[in-house]
Symmetry: C2
Subunit: 186 residues, 2 copies
């Protein structure tokens, strides 16, 4: 939550940004409309976020809607299952998936959105780091395994299954994905 | 290659379809333009593919540009490395990535494209099946591991790294992803 680093109505502004993104798509997302819906002056918005992309990046990263409560279940498997369930919710819940999909859909034509995605995933990875530090301390992570590669595999599997393969990702799938990535397929 | 199941100029038609898709995007891809560029009568196109989506699905699945020579290197690790390198090429090569990205970008707004993607990935999975049958026969695949989940993890990691995290996917990354999914992170 970045309310310490933004205007007091940051959460309302982020919510309006994500709603308008979902309703109209990235190309027609306008700062004026965000101002109107959140009841904040346009100049206030520009003071904090100099561009639409800066505002969108902040909304995706800091909105409570997307907030990741970093799990601490006592085991790497439990923590990864909780993170996997969180990713699945973001990709399928009515309140978040339209914004995720609108960002993804605009991305390939809008190189500047690549920066928004990079910033979002870099922030996520930084927040997830304690999961892997605790796992390493408990001896649950094999030496030489890169947590970023592990998250590419796990998060990638869920994105791939839902958005590309058009499959279901029920709790059983999440368990299979986590257990395969932890225990190995060989 | 579906030249047995399509007109003799199928490969030229598929190439024109993928080029025009990359140039104009999905929404402005027109069968008339495919006909003009491939030198095939429009009615011939409609006889084989009753809709734009049917033509696009066939082009993605059967064009030589996307063809997967199913590897048979003698080991599951070798086969997966070859498949991973193939996926990386599709996502990064100048000749294929624009078509992949245009399909992906249109997908979320065009539910009918979901069917195109599902058909593409179902066809891929069917072609990759022998890799896992040979691996199982060699005792290289742990009992109970679902090859579809394994491919969600591996293909997902490459898509995620390239298109979302905005990272590099060099041969070292492919090796790490394959070795983590085979040997396990725990």
């Amino acid at each position: 939550m970045s309310t310490q680093n933004g205007p007091r109505k940051a959460e309302a502004i982020f919510a309006a940004t994500l709603e308008l993104l979902a309703e109209h798509g990235y190309d027609r997302l306008a700062i004026e409309a965000v101002a109107a819906r959140s009841g904040v002056n346009k100049t206030t918005l520009y003071r904090w976020w100099p561009s639409k992309d800066a505002l969108l990046a902040a909304a995706l990263r800091d909105s409570g809607l997307f907030a990741l409560d970093v799990p601490d279940t006592g085991s790497l498997r439990g923590d990864l299952l909780a993170v996997a369930a969180h990713i699945l919710r973001l990709l399928t819940s009515e309140r978040t998936s339209p914004a995720v999909i609108a960002t993804l859909a605009a991305g390939p034509h809008r190189p500047e959105l690549g920066e928004v995605a990079r910033s979002f995933f870099a922030d996520r990875m930084a927040r997830e780091q304690p999961i892997f530090e605790r796992a390493a301390a408990r001896g649950e992570l094999r030496d030489g395994v890169d947590p970023v590669v592990l998250m590419d595999l796990l998060a990638g599997a869920i994105w791939f299954r839902i958005l590309l393969r058009g499959g279901e990702a029920d709790p059983k799938f999440l368990e299979e994905a986590v257990d395969t990535v932890l225990g190995g397929a060989a």
